[in-house]
């Protein structure tokens, strides 16, 4: 009886293969688990970094969307919303303690930054404005609109929208900033903060101020949140930077030793008399009834002589404003260049002209890499929709029987075929060469401005130097009806002001 059991027992104990196998399995298991843990940590590390980067750019996407939509010529501009329902009417500042929100909820999600029970509640509002507004909550509900990602066509995309949840647009004061801006009276005031040129703080550069000088500063704050809980709060201060381009002549040749050739025809005229109505704008209502016909900027070089020598004796009457009493003809005068609104911009030196080109490029409707032709002109351009077009290089019109409208900035040579016309502003800044060798009856209505910022080898001149030798090169046999000043077209062609980033800041939560 007991013998049989012992036998079976011993048979089971024979060998230690099982023990060894278990031991080895244990070892392998431990090593395996260690490797899994290690790779898991690594994955988590990489994942955290990815989340942090994703949520940062999602938040920047929100800020950039709102900054773009503040521009009046943006297709999704806030101006298209009923005035007063979101942002106040143009000309009325946004009041402090009245924030508005752009909402971007994920499908099935509710984003209500004014609701303390909402997962995306705007806590930062209370931290920033709690001391200057009554209470720490934004008005419930605050005016709001949806992001472009909520509307067609972007809402139809299969890829998910950026993970920002809301962008707040708010006004700021010195008190909310807790900072004393220009004019530095050492105490933060409750007045709204603006961005403009206050000469007692700085004669040349724009600054934040509480004297209502310039344009109102808006604060954009964006919250982005990922499903895994990563959140990022970023903040811009932005302000529009208008470019009030004004001209003292129908044709301005900016720089030393201008070069000038013009057609010898009765049709070709350069007229300084203000003409051309646009909408309700009529000639003479925006400024003087006439400006100089051909303006140059250096009286101590050959500029004036070069211009006068090019004009045939029997055509001097073609270069004049119609004034009473009539000024001596041809009306070629030294002009003083107007100052410009954009920071750093100037028409008198290369650096300022370059800054102007940059400012216009930033607010352009279309930027085209040259060499370009008339086929590059946007089809949406019309008399009722003048556009800002920047040609980064040369532009050639050839056989274009049409009219362009708006602001045309060419940085290379502009070869013009007088079959075409242009209503608005034409700037040739860079090579400063506007030439025509063909026939036609086209004309410029508005103002034409030439400046050369490159040396003879095509290299940029130093920023502090004056522009040199602009070249208005309409060969004597070419056509064209010339250049005519129009203050209404100059106004209609002003580039839409873009909102400049005044500051950027990440806010910890």
């Amino acid at each position: 009886m007991s013998e049989g059991r012992t036998k079976r027992w011993r048979r089971r104990e024979a060998g230690i293969a099982l023990l060894i196998a278990i031991f080895v399995l244990l070892l392998i298991g431990v090593i395996g688990i260690a490797l899994v843990v290690s790779s898991g940590t690594e994955t988590a590390l990489a994942g955290n970094y990815r989340s942090s980067t994703t949520v940062y750019y999602a938040s920047v996407a929100g800020l950039e969307e709102v900054r773009a939509r503040l521009r009046p010529n943006n297709p999704n501009s806030f101006n298209a919303l009923t005035p007063g329902t979101f942002l106040p009417r143009q000309g009325t500042p946004l009041a402090i303690c009245n924030p508005v929100y752009v909402l971007n909820p994920a499908p099935g999600e509710v984003v209500a930054p004014w609701d303390p029970g909402n997962p995306y509640y705007d806590q930062q509002y209370g931290q920033e404005f709690g001391a200057v507004c009554t209470g720490t909550l934004p008005p419930n509900p605050s005016p709001n609109t949806t992001s472009v990602w909520q509307n067609t066509p972007l809402s139809r995309l299969s890829s998910p929208p950026p993970a920002y949840k809301w962008v707040r647009i708010s006004a700021i004061t010195e008190q909310s900033l807790n900072l004393d801006t220009c004019p530095n009276d050492s105490t933060p005031d409750p007045a709204l903060v603006y961005y403009g040129l206050v000469s007692r703080c700085s004669p040349t550069s724009f600054n934040l101020n509480d004297t209502a000088t310039g344009a109102q500063v808006l604060e954009l704050t964006a919250l982005a949140a990922l499903p895994n809980g990563s959140q990022k709060l970023l903040q811009y201060l932005v302000a529009p930077t208008p470019l009030p381009l004004t001209f003292s002549a129908a044709l301005t040749l900016d720089g030393d030793n201008v070069q000038f050739t013009v057609p010898n025809s009765t049709n070709f005229q350069v007229g300084g008399t203000d003409q051309g109505s646009v909408g309700n704008c009529n000639p003479g209502t925006l400024g003087p009834p006439a400006v100089t016909a051909v303006g140059y900027t250096n009286s101590s070089d050959a500029s004036r002589t070069n211009i006068l020598n090019a004009i045939q004796a029997n055509r001097t009457g073609n270069y004049t404003p119609s004034l009473t009493p009539p000024p001596p003809t041809p009306n070629v005068s030294l002009v003083s260049l107007p100052s410009l609104g954009c920071p750093g911009c100037s028409l008198t030196n290369v650096g300022g002209l370059n800054a102007l080109v940059q400012a216009i490029t930033q607010s352009a409707d279309v930027v085209i890499q040259g060499p370009a032709t008339q086929s590059s002109m946007p089809s949406a351009m019309s008399a009722t929709n003048p556009m800002t077009i920047v040609i980064n290089g040369s532009l050639t019109f050839d056989g274009w029987h049409s009219t362009g409208y708006g602001l045309l900035l060419v940085t290379g040579d502009f070869t013009f075929d007088p079959d075409a016309s242009w209503d608005g502003i034409v700037l040739v800044i860079g090579t400063g060469n506007l030439n025509s060798h063909q026939s036609g009856n086209g004309q410029f209505l508005g103002s034409v401005f030439l400046a050369r910022t490159l040396d003879t080898s095509g290299n940029p001149l130093p920023p502090g130097s004056a522009p040199v030798s602009p070249y208005f090169d309409f060969t004597p046999t070419s056509g064209s009806n010339g250049v005519y000043y129009s203050s209404c077209w100059v106004q209609a062609a002003q580039p839409a002001s873009s909102y400049k980033i005044l500051s950027f800041h990440e806010i910890s939560q």
């Binding site: 060894i20 090593i31 220009c182 724009f206 650096g351 940029p460 920023p463 500051s503």
Partner: protein, 276 residues
Amino acid sequence: MKPPRGVKQERGFTLIEMLASLGIFLLVTGAAFTLLTSSQQRYQTESEVLTSFQEARLGVDQMVRDINDAGFPPPTFATTDPRKVTLAPFGWSPNYTIPAPCQIGTAGGGTCFTPTDFDIIIETEPSPPDPNCPGSVEWIRYQLPQNGTTLMRGVACKQAGAEPGVQTSGVLTPFVQNVVNNSPTLQIGQFQLDAAYPALFPGGVPVPLFQYTCDTPSVPQNPPQPCPLAGADNAPANIRDVAITLIVAAPLPDSATGQPRLLQLKGRGRRINPNQ
């Protein structure tokens, strides 16, 4: 009494059986322990690499955040107290107080003592505010000393009329260990030979920790250029992007091979605040 036959046959093992089983046991356990040892070594090395990776990743993340935030609040905030606004997004040395910009170079070129390939000073007011510098802009400096392997970080409150290079030089503390970007050439050669990392150190020379692109306001049509190629715009105030390349070594060489283990991390910070 005579034991039953079956029991007698099973009693004990023969010497041959013992030797054979012992031999097999030794073989199997030997193999198992060899596997265990090598796995332990691998695990130890990988843990160290992972620790270095984690430290380096945190370091790069912090540097990118600081660079993104550089230049807040900008000078346009028009506050008369220079401690409350930045002069430029990045501080420099020498001649910060004059202020006259210096030229950024690589491999010891340029006239800037900082910023250089291994040194940067970020000027910003962090959020949340630093209790040591209430309401004041800070200078945040990252510096990898010549032939050093510890990336240092130091924060100093901005002082009116003070040089950021001087203010931050006394407050640097270790930030990331075992950074080998700026190792002596001999050691770099060793990395290339031993560790078979020829791609990490092109040309066998130190790898810049920071590489800069500059805005070119004087030639607005140009996109940002590498600062040393930006001509007149090569100045610390014009720095737009900072590309970070961080090469770290595990604290101990690979236990199995005895060779150093290196890791390369790349990051990019983009300053958004305006230049001036």
